[in-house]
């Protein structure tokens, strides 16, 4: 997997100060996408074990609220596989850090085992480690810059753990 950028102490992609990882590769190709160059899976820099270590270190301070992964598409099957070890390590080593994932796939698509485009062997475990999923493609007609932490009004900020627990989509209270 490649990635385009990492922002440290980022305040634009989730509450508090966070580390934000922009992974490369996306097959949605939404009209009006804000980061078209990241559609290419080979865009940017190679994601290595060192990259993973850097990210892990960066979320350790108590004033860093967590990690946000966006892109690109963090839930492309190949990216899921590359990112799972990072999620595992964060949850194991840094309990205070929460994990936000921005995906063009919807909750329903990701949790549907028959959907081979979005659901992989890793997906259930990834969601079990995720705190918030901002789901759905960006729809230019529904764009609204006054929205907090999302681009278009169709996107949902889902509290993943509550959604799993209650068995129905539960939105995060922002």
């Amino acid at each position: 997997m490649n990635y385009g950028q990492i922002y440290y102490a980022d305040v634009a992609n989730g509450p508090g100060c966070r580390t934000s990882l922009f992974v490369s590769g996306c097959t949605h190709h939404c009209r009006g996408c804000f980061n078209q160059e990241t559609w290419d899976f080979s865009f940017g820099h190679e994601y290595t074990r060192e990259t993973e270590n850097r990210i892990l270190e960066s979320v350790k301070p108590s004033y860093i609220d967590g990690l946000t992964v966006l892109g690109g598409e963090p839930m492309e099957p190949s990216n899921q596989k590359a990112l799972l070890p990072l999620y595992r390590r964060i949850k194991e080593k840094v309990p205070h850090a929460d994990i936000w994932i921005y995906s063009g796939y919807t909750w329903e698509e990701l949790t549907d085992p028959s959907n081979k485009r979005a659901h992989t062997d890793c997906t259930d475990e990834i969601l079990s480690l995720t705190d918030v999923l901002v789901d759905g493609e960006f729809v230019e007609d529904l764009k609204d810059i006054s929205l907090c932490f999302r681009g278009s009004s169709n996107q949902r900020i889902i509290d993943v753990q509550k959604t799993i627990e209650y068995g129905k989509i539960t939105l995060k209270d922002i």
């Binding site: 305040v11 634009a12 509450p15 940017g44």
Partner: protein, 770 residues
């Protein structure tokens, strides 16, 4: 005849040293000679003899000789030849030259400022609007004061160093009068025990609203009698909430009795509380609106800071009342004030400082909701700034606010030789309690700032010229310059000595600072710790780069920078010990001076990359505005320097619009609480009146290379049709800035959302703004 070899230099009036030239003396004598009849003239041999005599005396002098002293020698020499007529002509000539040198030098400056072409004055102070008549009157007085200061009141070498940008003698425009700089006013004493405003007795107010009204009157009077800022505590108003509550309660009971309603305490208190709330709202609004609309005799709104520290009042009702007042202050500030177009904008004053403490910093602590509101207020209006009670107790033993100009008083503790600073109540405060530490009523005498960048550049230059070690040169020049600052500070101190309490009754007689007798001198308050005097410094960043080739965030640079900071403190301590005057090291919040210093440095040393290549130099110990560093690392790094800046200094972090991410503001606030005594967040809230854009207005270069402000939405560049608020050095400015400061504002990098790779900066960083 042998010529006399004179190696001794002559110091000219402008301070420059030149080599001695006997011919000039001969010329001067010959000139006077020609004015008298032949019989009274000196012959050639006599002229030569006088000149040789002077040459010998100058050559024998162990140090450079002042040109005035040489003229004395000439006079004496002519007299010794008994040519009294020539001597008389020479003396008259000298006197005439002296007069023309000291003749009126302010005409041009004053006319230029009235015609609004005096750029320097126009951009000097971001809180003054120099086109307004009343402000111009203040500036005219300032020009006269500066002129007197330069020609009459200060020694020439200090004036020269000031002009060359080696040091800065602050507030020369007020130096002619006997005014001090800034203070913490003792509002409590004035409200509780009464005061006098414009010869009118003001007794203890009988309601909260009246107390607020009196407070604004006091602030206005104080501001008109000093040139620096003042701070007051909201805690001093808190007791009046209950005064109003009890008063309203009586009224409500009487009213209900009159119309036969029941006196159920719950119902009564509900009505009382409603009315009290509306009185609190009116009172806070009075303070806010009166303070921003007032125009003092200094031609500006008062520089005033409101301090909020819950522990200043006893736990229980009064503390809850104080928290309630603070909540109302924040609520109204978030709303803003309406400008002339009816748009809600960010007011510059009063500045607000909120103290972070264990009872309000963690989720679940009793006043955490207030802290959250403070965070919202900061995101929207840049204030409050934050003092960490935890760190301040570690550093100073007490918690107290800085004075108007971000300067901190010296802690009041028993360990000092003379004990507590107000021992025996020398200030005559009516709220004096023996053994209690005193902060309200204390003040600062004034500031002189050393330009550390110039010390470094001078050292490197001399070392290169002489082939010596630059660090040795640095130490030598540093000490010379410090001694110059020391003498300049003593001039300040001595100017205040002998001041009668009559010059500002509100300050010295009626409780704001003291309650001295009429005609009593303020001298005793100028010694010990009662008042401080500030040795300012600036440009640690550029200085370190020039000397070590690296930033002071680099370990090697840091070691040098900290050494310099310690030496500055050692000097203050040495002077204090010798004179019992509370010298204190102060990270000067320079406004126009940053531009002046930068210009002087370029003139003296040319363009040196990272050192003199900008139109500004960095304030105090701050990390350079262009250096990429995250907010937390910056605060942590700077806290080490803040510790060594006991006379004051504020750290800041530059952040984007955080109105939608209050948790991030709170994270930074919690970090401040744990790590640094005093810090602020620079947020952005601008407004374009042409298109209604509400966000960050940017700085661009116009066709002539001048920096101008431009609305990113509609391209409007008309400064009169936009409102821009930026914090430049502790204070929020809304009147735009000089080119140096504007460049500095443009160069500021954000201390949040730091990219790992700068090559992909083009990438959109914000998922929510497509």
């Amino acid at each position: 005849m042998d010529t006399i070899v004179v190696k001794t230099n002559v110091i000219k009036r402008n301070g420059r040293e030149v080599s001695f030239d006997e011919q000039k003396i001969i010329n001067a004598i010959m000139k006077a000679n020609k004015e008298v009849e032949g019989i009274h003239q000196l012959n050639h041999a006599q002229v030569q003899a006088v000149a040789d005599g002077i040459s010998r005396q100058v050559a024998a002098s162990p140090h450079a000789v002042n040109v005035e002293d040489i003229q004395d020698l000439v006079e004496k020499g002519i007299m010794e030849m008994r040519c009294y007529e020539v001597a008389q002509k020479y003396v008259r000539y000298r006197y005439k030259r002296e007069l023309s040198r000291k003749s009126n030098t302010t005409d041009n400056g004053i006319l230029a400022l009235i015609d609004q072409v005096n750029e320097e004055v126009k951009q000097e102070n971001s809180n003054k609007n120099p086109v307004i008549n009343s402000t111009q009157r203040d500036y005219m007085a300032g020009e006269v004061s500066k002129d007197l200061t330069n020609r009459v009141l200060l020694p020439e070498d200090i004036v020269k160093a000031h002009k060359e940008g080696i040091i800065h003698f602050h507030d020369a425009d007020y130096f002619a009068q006997r005014e001090h700089n800034c203070d913490l006013i003792n509002l409590e004493d004035m409200l509780q025990n009464g005061t006098v405003i414009s010869e009118t007795m003001i007794e203890k107010p009988k309601s909260f609203y009246t107390a607020c009204n009196i407070t604004t009157q006091i602030v206005a009077q104080v501001a008109s009698n000093q040139y620096g800022g003042q701070s007051f505590s909201l805690a001093h108003l808190a007791p009046f909430v209950d005064v109003s509550r009890q008063k309203i309660k009586k009224q409500v009971i009487a009213e209900r009795e009159e119309i036969g309603d029941d006196l159920d305490p719950e119902k009564v208190m509900k009505v009382v509380d409603h009315r009290l709330q509306s009185e609190i709202e009116s009172g806070i609004q009075t303070i806010q609106y009166q303070l921003v609309t007032l125009m003092t005799t200094n031609g500006q709104t008062p520089f005033v800071t409101m301090f909020i520290y819950l522990d200043e009042v006893p736990e229980g009702q009064t503390r809850d009342d104080l928290a309630r007042l603070a909540k109302e202050v924040f609520r109204q500030r978030i709303q803003g004030i309406k400008n002339e177009k009816g748009v809600w904008v960010t007011p510059a004053f009063p500045k607000i400082i909120y103290t972070l403490d264990q009872d309000n910093i963690e989720e679940g602590s009793p006043y955490y909701d207030l802290t959250k509101l403070a965070a919202e207020c900061t995101a929207k209006r840049m204030v409050p700034d934050y003092i960490s009670a935890k760190v301040m107790k570690e550093l100073k033993g007490d918690v107290y606010t800085c004075m108007g100009c971000r300067s901190f008083l010296t802690p009041d503790n028993e360990d000092n030789d003379e004990g507590l600073c107000n021992a025996g109540n020398k200030s005559g405060a009516l709220d004096y309690k023996e053994g209690e530490h005193k902060y309200y009523g204390r003040f600062n005498q004034g500031v002189v700032t050393i330009n550390l960048v110039d010390v470094a550049c001078s050292a490197v230059k001399e070392a290169e010229e002489k082939g010596t070690d630059r660090f040795e040169e640095f130490d030598r020049i540093f000490d010379e310059r410090l001694e110059l600052c020391h003498r300049a500070l003593l001039c300040r101190h001595n100017r205040l000595m002998g001041t009668s309490s009559d010059v500002a009754p509100i300050l010295w007689q009626h409780g704001a600072l003291a309650r001295l007798k009429k005609g009593e001198k303020i001298d005793k308050l100028l010694f010990g710790n009662y008042s401080t005097i500030s040795l300012g410094y600036c440009g640690i960043s550029e200085m370190t780069y020039e000397m070590t080739g690296v930033s002071h965030t680099d370990p090697k640079g840091k070691e040098f920078a900290l050494k310099v900071m310690r030496h500055l403190n050692d000097k203050c301590a040495e002077w204090r010990r010798a004179e019992n005057i509370s010298y204190s090291l102060y990270g000067t919040p320079m406004e126009s001076t940053t531009y002046k210093f930068a210009k002087c440095l370029q003139k003296r040393f040319g363009i040196i990359p990272h050192v003199t290549d900008k139109n500004y130099i960095t304030n105090s110990y701050h990390v350079h505005v262009t250096e990429e560093i995250d907010a937390f690392s910056k605060l942590k790094f700077e806290s080490e320097f803040q510790k060594l800046s006991p006379g004051g200094a504020i750290s800041y972090v530059e952040v984007p619009n955080l109105q939608t991410n209050i948790p991030a503001v709170l994270s930074i606030m919690k970090y401040i609480y744990q790590n640094i005594m005093y810090a602020e967040l620079n947020t952005k809230s601008d407004y374009c009146e042409v298109c209604g854009y509400d966000g960050q207005i940017r700085i661009v270069e116009d066709d002539n290379g001048k920096l101008v402000w431009e609305c990113p939405k509609c391209g409007n560049r008309d400064q009169s049709r936009m409102s821009v608020a930026r914090r430049t050095c502790g204070y929020i400015g809304t009147q735009f800035w000089n080119q140096g400061r504007t460049q500095e504002i443009r160069d500021r990098v954000l201390h949040l959302s730091i990219p790992e790779f700068s090559d992909t900066n083009e990438m959109n960083v914000n998922a929510s703004v497509k």
